[in-house]
């Protein structure tokens, strides 16, 4: 026992090793990388989503295109006014641009598969789901006009994004 309590009363506490701290942080980092995805674009319109209880979630690999409907954000109101507007990608666009937007999205889905399996790309483009993020105060008139455009562009799969809850 003399080895342990031998005389030296002024022993210092050993410092806590921080060598494993990077590992912990990296674990956190990987969790967030997997559980989240990059924000796709800057908001040009303000969208407060409605709530619903009966909702579903799309499968992870489903190709999607987002269309936002709402009043432009404060800084853009000088240019676009304060009427409900349509946001495609990251800019405010007209209703007639929707068709082109859909074609662009389909083309970009196809190009992801163009080297390996073009036929998969074509079927993926067909499966594309249009996610509508619409402000809850929006009048239905414009929503249905957008839906008509989607039908014209034969994008029939629509997903209304909502908040889950009561």
């Amino acid at each position: 026992m003399s080895k342990f309590d031998g005389g030296n009363k002024k022993r210092e506490e050993p410092a806590i090793s921080t060598a494993s701290l990077p590992d912990i942080v990296f674990m956190l980092l990987f969790f967030f990388m997997v559980a989240t995805k990059a924000k796709d674009n800057e908001a040009s319109v303000m969208v407060a989503l409605p709530t619903a209880t009966e909702t579903g979630k799309l499968e992870d690999k489903t190709p999607t295109a987002y269309i936002q409907l709402g009043v432009p954000v404060k800084s853009l109101q000088k240019i676009y006014g304060d009427k409900t507007s349509i946001q495609l990608n990251d800019a405010i666009k007209e209703k007639k641009d929707i068709r082109m937007f859909l074609d662009e999205k389909r083309a970009s889905i196809k190009s992801n598969y163009s080297d390996v399996a073009p036929e998969i790309g074509a079927s993926k483009a067909k499966q594309m789901v249009v996610c509508l993020k619409v402000d809850k105060k929006t009048k239905l008139g414009i929503v249905s006009e957008v839906k008509e455009e989607l039908r014209d562009g034969s994008a029939l799969k629509v997903n209304y994004i909502v908040n889950e809850g009561k």
């Binding site: 559980a35 996610c131 239905l140 929503v143 249905s144």
Partner: protein, 227 residues
């Protein structure tokens, strides 16, 4: 000369680097799963759509949202909270009212004959179509199973929920109404699941859910918005 060891690399700043990366990802990303309500829009037809299969008036359940965001059920003003129970009652039509949607029991011969037909179709299907033919067969087999489990509760209802909205109605009410209609179906399925399987809708397996969706099949049609 004494052997000198290579100095150890100080890993103390590794944590700082990792933290920086972590914060970068936190800021530039969002949670990927978004809840949504799915809808399949009807295909565009060139001519003015001809109504090929006329729906009998008794089978139509009318729901409407007007400009003041008030909900009308069968032309009567109702509170939106009442919609699920009202729709449920009409679809079930337990009292067999003459002006409420009709339904008829599904027979075993009917479903088994569909299975036989789909089996044949799968045998004759080309390679390209084999996948969808097989899917069809699985579905019809599941229908037989559903009939075995749910028996006389498995009815073929002819109801159509016709949902309509005016241009000035708000999107919030529209989604709320859609939600209430979905709740009506979920509640129907939940009731039957509790009665026959002893478990609620939430605790069912995917297959059981699929079967219940066959028993109470959703049939919501949306009319274009009116002025």
């Amino acid at each position: 000369m004494p052997k000198r060891q290579a100095p150890e690399v100080n890993a103390g700043s590794m944590a700082d680097i990792a933290f920086l990366l972590l914060i970068f990802f936190l800021v530039t990303s969002e949670m990927s799963k978004e809840a949504g309500k799915f809808q399949l829009l009807p295909e565009k037809t060139d001519e003015k759509q001809e109504i090929t299969d006329k729906v009998k008036e008794r089978n139509v359940i009318e729901v409407l949202v007007n400009d003041d965001n008030k909900v009308l059920f069968e032309a009567k003003l109702v509170n939106i909270e009442e919609i699920p129970s009202l729709v449920k009652e009409m679809i079930l039509n337990a009292a067999d009212k003459e002006d409420w949607p009709e339904s008829r029991p599904v027979s075993m011969e009917e479903v088994t004959s569909i299975v036989a037909k789909n089996k044949k179709a799968l045998e004759n299907a080309s390679e390209a179509k084999a996948k969808s033919a097989e899917k069809k067969l699985r579905k019809s087999e599941l229908r037989v199973k559903a009939l075995e489990i749910f028996g006389e509760d498995f009815k073929k209802s002819s109801h159509v929920v016709n949902m309509q909205a005016t241009q000035g109605a708000s999107y919030e009410t529209y989604i709320a109404l859609k939600d209430k209609l979905d709740q009506a179906y979920t509640s129907l399925r939940d009731d039957l699941a509790k009665r026959k399987l002893g478990r609620g809708w939430e605790d069912l397996t995917l297959e059981e859910k699929a079967m219940l969706k066959m028993v109470y099949k959703e049939n919501i049609s949306e009319s274009p918005v009116v002025q």
